[in-house]
């Protein structure tokens, strides 16, 4: 177009370009994991019978998440105090994580979300709260879809320093409590099109988004 040869891109110009053009996402995500059985915490308090869920076996939680690699893993089980199934989401195995997000879905006719608590993620192992803070978004909207997000922010930001991803060994992200409305096997999983995990270069980080099942075997309800 313009008859002047372009010079090779300087580091400065690459930086300038990076600030205005969001890098195309490199998507890699495996949501088709089936049950590996690991990392689960089931029937921790099995045997209790509070009468609220009839007199049969208590609902249990089974997670489907690998134990290694960048991942969001789930663990959970019956919570006797609340008489609900409590599920915790952990963010784990990231070398450079600036933020992540996804829609967690379940069948609202079978599960009722009774409590939802987010913890600031990702912060990184140092938990250097002088330099960093994190914010988490956690909201059910509409019923059966939980909008989740977490991102890390520099406490004293300026245009010269830019974002910096965290090394995340394993950090608690979200705690959910469900009332189980119906017997059966109820899947809790991320909508594959909704998930994203990004590093400080705004690149998509390949991660495994775990899922889980709340299983309530008929018990006394017959």
């Amino acid at each position: 177009m313009l008859p002047i040869p372009r010079r090779s891109r300087s580091a400065l110009s690459r930086l300038a370009a990076a600030t205005i053009v969001v890098t195309p996402l490199l998507w890699s995500c495996s949501n088709n994991q089936t049950d590996t059985g690991s990392g689960t915490e089931t029937d921790a308090t099995a045997g209790a019978d509070d009468g609220s869920i009839s007199n049969g076996a208590l609902p249990a939680f089974q997670a489907s998440t690998p134990a290694t690699g960048a991942r969001v893993d789930l663990e959970g089980g019956w919570d006797d105090a609340s008489k609900h199934v409590r599920v915790r989401l952990y963010v784990a195995g990231f070398a450079n994580l600036l933020g992540l997000a996804g829609h967690l879905r379940f069948d609202p006719s079978a599960l009722k979300l009774t409590a939802l608590t987010g913890a600031p993620v990702p912060l990184g192992p140092s938990k250097d709260t002088l330099t960093w803070e994190a914010r988490t978004m956690a909201k059910e909207s509409p019923a059966g879809r939980v909008l989740l997000g977490g991102a890390r922010f520099r406490k004293k930001p300026n245009p010269y320093v830019g974002p910096e991803g965290a090394v995340v060994d394993r950090e608690l992200w979200v705690t959910l409590e469900f009332e189980v409305l119906q017997p059966g096997t109820h899947t809790i999983a991320f909508d594959p099109a909704s998930t994203t995990a990004r590093n400080d270069g705004n690149e998509e980080v390949s991660a495994t988004w775990g899922s889980g099942q709340i299983v309530w075997k008929q018990g006394g309800v017959k």
Partner: protein, 672 residues
């Protein structure tokens, strides 16, 4: 953002969520910051240089002119009764007293009979003696005209003979005032440099632009000094006193002038092919770097020569001035530039030094085409000089340095630092007197020409500018004349564009919303909504980068062309799979400030969710307001800033924005 506003924003969001509906009122953008640029940055240096150049402009185009003429162009003005044909100027400066002594042989020609009194404008002079061609002294009076200017009136014993040249010799002195921050900046002195801008006499009856002439300049210096000026140099001739006299022939008809004296070590790079002779006048140690400057000058000339028309003059003299000059200016055949520029090399990347050097030199050299070859006809057409030169410079840095930081900085500067009260149309005849003159004419002007380039395409744009230069070379032009050439070359009606961007003020200020709609065949529709205020409806081509869940990006261009009453414009585009994000004008090609209609939906997905939070984290810390260590706020053209993410509007993306966004989780775009 102050706490009160933040609480209000949160309260609003909470109320909406409770009601289960999206907010009808979009977030309003932050007000203009009206702040000076962050000191020490390349951008601050550039703005300073532009301000200095604007001062030089003023000293060459005396403000002190009949008000009615200064306020409009000269399209309807009757032919002048007499004109200056040539001046032969001999000048000497005494640094200690900042006294300029001149002997000017002025050749005039009457166009009408009965001309017996001649009024000239120049510096405020004293001790004037005027002799006719036979050496007879004529009656002359001098009068202060304000701001360092003066008027010289010569009364002739008999009227001038029509169409016959007559020469007078005017000898006078002037005391230079180099300190004016406002008004006349006629000189710049330090221990190494003595430079003077205004040495000529101009017709009193018109601003100087309208009395150009050919000239010879002779500068007297001490034996160890060298003079530099526009034109073809000759000499020096040694006087009996031991002083030297340096001559510069200006064969072209022009209104500009100026010279400088220093211990220059000139480097002359001879003309080659289409490239003219380039002479670099610099003192040590910068003189050792003269080849770098000459190379840069020739590269810029080569680019412009290819884009516009061949370099039109006999040569280009790049002349170093005192560092305290702080800027540059470009009379015909020369670029005067402040000192430190001449020491810069491509390896000087700290603080953008080389970049700002190239920007400045490319701007000044562009004036050889825009301002000198084709001169703007009057105050309302100054964009034909300054905006086009800045545009050319941006085009040069985009191509040669492979980055758009110059045009982006110009864009952000206009958008974020011009209060409504200071804004004027580019073609306003009073634009010079706006506090935002630099932002309107240099910064917005460059972006407006760049948007025109996007409308027409590079090839048609450059072809049009070339045709314009060919049609109006060595002449004055008006904006409408440039428009006519552009329309002829492109075959497009550009009336709307010129009305919107040249004779209208402001920028695109729009609220954006998007919705993603799945289709039966598996594709998706992105429905896009642009809302503008009725009093500021702008037409533009909007690039949408649509990021898909599979990691691909689809780019679409939508035409936003509202009718006279249409505040809301809808557009629909199809993409092959599920979108996750829309980036509107991702390269900031437009002069715009966008906000989102759906509060918190910064990525325009139609839903506020965690992706908005992550997208905000990427932008966190970006801002066009920078608080320095001294606690003061400054403007900073951070090209990573995107006002869409500034949801708690304060012109920076900080934790207030994050905390404002989070409560909006789950808000969906209102159906449209």
């Amino acid at each position: 953002m102050n706490t009160h506003l933040k609480l209000l924003a949160l309260a609003a969001a909470t109320a909406v969520l409770a009601a289960g509906a999206a907010l009808a009122v979009p977030v309003q953008p932050a007000a203009s910051v009206d702040l000076p640029p962050l000191p020490g940055t390349a951008f601050a240096r550039k703005v300073q240089a532009q301000q200095r150049e604007a001062h030089e402009q003023l000293s060459r185009l005396p403000q002190y002119t009949p008000a009615a003429w200064a306020a409009q162009d000269f399209a309807g003005m009757p032919a002048q009764k007499w004109t200056i044909v040539h001046q032969d100027i001999t000048a000497e400066v005494v640094a200690a007293t900042k006294t300029l002594s001149t002997t000017v042989k002025v050749t005039v020609r009457a166009n009408k009979s009965g001309i017996q009194k001649l009024d000239f404008v120049s510096l405020e002079i004293s001790d004037a003696t005027v002799l006719d061609a036979d050496g007879n002294e004529l009656t002359a009076t001098t009068e202060a005209a304000g701001q360092g200017y003066g008027m010289l009136s010569i009364t002739l014993p008999a009227p001038l003979t029509v169409d016959q040249d007559q020469t007078f010799e005017v000898t006078s002195k002037a005391v230079l005032d180099c300190n004016g921050d406002e008004g006349l900046m006629s000189c710049s002195f330090d221990s190494s440099f003595k430079s003077v801008v205004l040495v000529r006499y101009y017709l009193w009856s018109a601003v100087s632009s309208y009395s150009p002439f050919t000239s010879d300049l002779h500068v007297i210096t001490a034996a160890d000094e060298v003079a530099a000026a526009p034109g073809v140099p000759s000499g020096p001739v040694k006087l009996e006193s031991g002083k030297l006299i340096w001559s510069f022939a200006q064969e072209e008809i022009t209104d500009n002038a100026g010279f400088s004296i220093a211990e220059y070590e000139p480097l002359v790079v001879d003309a080659k092919g289409d490239l003219p002779t380039v002479r670099v006048y610099a003192i040590q140690p910068s003189a050792d770097n003269a080849q770098t400057m000459a190379d840069l000058g020739q590269q810029i000339i080569a680019a412009y020569g290819g884009w516009f028309v061949k370099f039109p003059w006999q040569g280009l003299n790049m002349i170093q001035l005192a560092n305290n000059f702080g800027g540059g200016y470009a009379p015909l055949g020369a670029a005067f530039l402040y000192g430190e520029v001449f020491g810069m090399e491509p390896s000087d990347q700290d603080y953008g030094q080389w970049q700002s050097t190239v920007e400045l030199i490319a701007h000044e050299i562009a004036h050889q085409w825009w301002g000198n070859l084709v001169a703007p006809l009057g105050a309302g057409n100054v964009c034909l000089s300054e905006s086009l030169s800045e545009f050319a410079s941006c085009l040069y840095t985009e191509t040669a340095l492979d980055n758009r930081s110059q045009i982006l900085g110009d864009n952000l500067s206009y958008i974020f630092t011009v209060p409504d009260a200071s804004d004027r149309p580019m073609t306003s005849s009073t634009v010079y007197y706006s506090a935002a003159y630099i932002q309107i004419i240099y910064h917005k002007g460059a972006v407006v020409f760049d948007m025109l380039r996007r409308e027409l395409g590079d090839e048609v744009m450059l072809k049009s500018l070339s045709a314009y230069a060919q049609k109006y070379h060595r002449d004055y032009a008006k904006v409408e004349q440039l428009r006519a050439v552009l329309e002829e070359t492109s075959g497009q009606d550009l009336g709307w564009f010129f009305k919107q961007w040249f004779s209208g003020k402001g920028a695109i200020r729009a609220h954006l919303a998007a919705r993603f709609l799945p289709q039966d065949d598996g594709t998706w529709t992105v429905r896009f909504q642009v809302t503008q205020k009725a009093e500021n409806l702008k037409r533009f081509q909007l690039v949408l980068a649509i990021d898909l869940a599979d990691g691909k990006t689809e780019e679409r261009v939508v035409e936003i062309a509202p009718s006279a009453t249409e505040t809301v414009v809808l557009a629909e585009v199809q993409v092959p799979s599920q979108p996750v994000r829309v980036r509107a004008d991702p390269q900031r090609l437009l002069l715009r400030a966008f906000t989102v209609t759906t509060p918190g939906d910064v990525n325009l997905s139609g839903l506020v969710d965690g992706r908005d939070l992550v997208d905000m984290a990427i932008r966190h810390g970006r801002g066009v307001v920078f608080t320095a260590k001294n606690g003061n706020d400054y403007f900073m053209p951070d090209t990573g800033f995107n006002e869409i993410y500034d949801v708690a509007p304060d012109n920076r993306i900080d934790i207030d924005d994050v905390d404002t966004l989070i409560p909006w989780a789950g808000v969906e775009a209102e159906p449209f």
